[in-house]
């Protein structure tokens, strides 16, 4: 085969010649360095403080898909009510999140389904209604829409209509852009779910957050949870994750970096972009920026956000999916309602443009470090 295609001469371009690499003078839109980002626990020393674990607890360095796998293993061991199923789950899943789980826990509780999202979610609702704790996997968030009727009209309304609940239900799905997913492997439809009362919508930013939030979703929530996993982080984000069982509450946002002059509210992968933009802005503009991870997108922790904005007087909301009728609109409206007199600048939104994620245009459509940096600068200079 090598004789057919001459290898390209520039080794760098060979890794991915279809996506253009930044130039030598690029300062902001550099690839995220997950090995040094302050958002990840690169050592185990800080873990026990953060997660309220005994000092004797141990941890292991793992990426996001391994952490999801570890959380699912913990859940399947802890309760025989937990079930795990979806398309291609048996061999480990296309993103490896269910690796070895069928072997360990048997094909009664961990299994492949036919290719039918509406069937997967409907089946999960039925199992939850009879007391099980189904964890249903949708292969890509882009493919959840056949299940929309089941999620919106059934899961979300189950308790309201009959008093019982389908609260053991967790619907997991990989989401977000990866650079070349185009129209159907890039979407992040959290705003569509966040519009529906009765659903909890969660998006973790890191392996250790994912484990705690997923265990919380399975064991501590009696509401159906839509659990969205930023797929670009599956392999990229590596950090220490506690080995033992722990949960992170689904009603608390987290201030992941304190600051005084402007608050950035985000969730999921864009937090890494925010962190890089903040570092650049603090260096270049001498500003102090606070960064908040919503973690649970709905129902959301409004108090933490309002307290922060009342302190800083400025706010920027960052998310990857389209700006129109997005999470940013809800957060911005809540801020102007709850902190109007403290605002020194309009609440700014940095989000995907109001279009689809065309293959060749992703980098122009979704937020990047430069756009977030620019928003910080504009908000401070307003």
């Amino acid at each position: 085969m090598a004789s057919l295609l001459r290898p390209c001469r520039v080794p760098r371009a060979c890794t991915r010649s279809y996506s253009t690499a930044p130039s030598a003078s690029t300062r902001l839109n550099l690839p995220i360095d997950y090995k040094s980002t302050p958002l990840l626990h690169h050592t185990s020393s800080s873990l026990s403080d953060v997660y309220d674990l005994p000092g004797s607890s141990t941890s292991k360095s793992m990426n996001l898909y391994t952490a999801i796998n570890a959380a699912l293993r913990t859940a399947l061991s802890k309760s025989n009510k937990v079930m795990l199923f979806g398309e291609d789950v048996a061999f480990g899943g296309v993103f490896r999140c269910s690796m070895d789980l069928q072997t360990e826990f048997g094909s009664e509780r961990v299994f492949n389904t036919p290719l039918t999202e509406q069937g997967i979610v409907g089946f999960a609702i039925g199992a939850a209604a009879e007391g099980m704790k189904p964890v249903a996997e949708i292969q890509f968030a882009d493919y959840v829409f056949p299940a929309f009727d089941q999620i919106v009209n059934e899961a979300a309304k189950f308790r309201y209509r009959e008093g019982g609940n389908a609260g053991g239900l967790v619907i997991r799905m990989p989401c977000g852009a990866v650079g070349h997913g185009a129209l159907y492997h890039s979407q992040s439809p959290e705003a569509l779910f966040a519009h529906i009362p009765g659903l909890q919508v969660v998006m973790p930013r890191s392996p250790s957050q994912a484990k705690g939030l997923l265990l919380s979703a399975i064991f501590e929530s009696n509401n159906p949870v839509v659990f969205m996993e930023p797929k670009v982080l599956y392999r990229a984000a590596v950090e220490h994750v506690p080995n033992e069982y722990y949960t992170i509450p689904l009603n608390k946002a987290e201030v992941i970096k304190p600051g005084n002059d402007v608050t950035i509210i985000s969730y999921g992968q864009p937090l890494y972009l925010c962190s890089a933009a903040i570092a650049a802005a603090e260096r270049a503009l001498g500003a102090s920026v606070e960064l908040i991870d919503l973690r649970t997108i709905y129902p959301w922790d409004r108090q933490t956000v309002l307290d922060s904005v009342k302190k800083t007087g400025r706010a920027i909301v960052v998310h990857e999916s389209m700006i129109n009728f997005g999470v940013g609109a809800e957060v911005a409206a809540t801020i102007q309602d709850g902190a109007f007199l403290r605002l020194e600048a309009p609440v700014k939104r940095v989000a995907g443009w109001s279009t689809h994620t065309g293959l060749m245009y992703e980098k122009f459509i979704i937020p990047d470090v430069a756009r977030i940096y620019d928003a910080i600068k504009q908000t401070l200079e307003y």
Partner: protein
Amino acid sequence: MSSLRPLPRRIPRIASLRTQPQSRLPSSQPLYASKRWSTSISQRPGSDRVRFPGAVNSKFTTDMSFINPLESGSIPTYRVMDSDGVLVDKTRGRPDVSNEEVLTWYKNMLTVSIMDIVMFEAQRQGRLSFYMVSAGEEGISVGSAAALTPDDVVFAQYRETGVFQQRGFTLKSFMSQLFANRNDTGKGKNMPVHYGCEYPRTHTISSTLATQIPHASGAAYALKLQALQNPDKPPSIVTCYFGEGAASEGDFHAGLNIAATRSCPVVFICRNNGYAISTPTLEQYRGDGIASRGVGYGIDTIRVDGNDIFAVYESMREARRRALSDGGKPVLIEAMSYRVSHHSTSDDSFAYRARVEVEDWKRRDNPIIRLRKWLENEGIWNEDLEREAREGIRKEVLKEFGAAEREKKPPIRSAFEGVYEEITDEMREQMDELKRILETYPEEYDIRPYEDGIKGL
């Protein structure tokens, strides 16, 4: 969707209702609207069969017997030539197709196969983001498309490169789409292999599964109405391709059922290649394959050997004839094959199936080798012609590969174009804001590959 149909404003004139005094009508119960009012189905006294609206010709029986699908045999698989490229039924005539035509099919299959090898390797080298081969299924796509007219409309999934090849999609068009360059009619918006063509009309591939199946039914109904409204127009059909995995989606069932009830001239072709990514057919469905579903929906159905291009071609030709008969009706073809390739460049199938299984299939049967044997048996093909054809195709593929890879990408404004018929005010503002960002931070973006650079926004 709703199970409650609207209450008719007036009491319908049903024969059985007329005999009853109005006062005996239970006022609290809704009256269900039904088309069967006009057909006045009723049970005749003493009849040996049921005439319920839902089953108008079912005999009464005193034998309480459940149907166990395992007890009835499998639907047979239609075959014309065996794996040695020899006519199975010596009493029938040769397939009704010229040697010249068959050679075209063969070269089209070779082209798809060679392009697959080149592009798979190109993806591995990082020169394009994604690719899907159709190895082992070239016979289904080329053979079925050969029985279509250019006016027939195609809705495909993502493993029917041979359909595009057989319908005249050029190597330049393939490569322009794969490299998402400015000559791509999809304007660089879609993932590789999501081809589309204005004429012969072949709608652009969507990654979503089975969504195209109801589209095909609706499109076929449109063609049927248009033919009625304009008798001068030559009658045409819709052909819809999908895999056996997609047939588990609700859209498959919706699409077939609505095609049957509206008598749509559409041929559904299921490529049953044994795997939906990792999921084998045993975990995908029970019962006799996808063909049995067609029977359930009251659709003319056939199962064919997908490695036998003649069987595929003949079935498709007959299916097309049937689709246009009796004022239009749907037909289902289940074409059996084996996915010898990985699902896509993102998949390593040896994580869920044995390498030996794949090698065995590759060696034992393959639509290209089978047709080559036929051609050699006919004395119109040999080793020299094979080498010459392969070298010629490879050279042509690589030439278009190089040209397409060097070509500019479409202008950046394509990111916004096509969402609405016209750019909205909001989008215009967003485009201006993007332009400001690109101009304020020029070192952060490489816009050189895009046609007209910043002016292309």
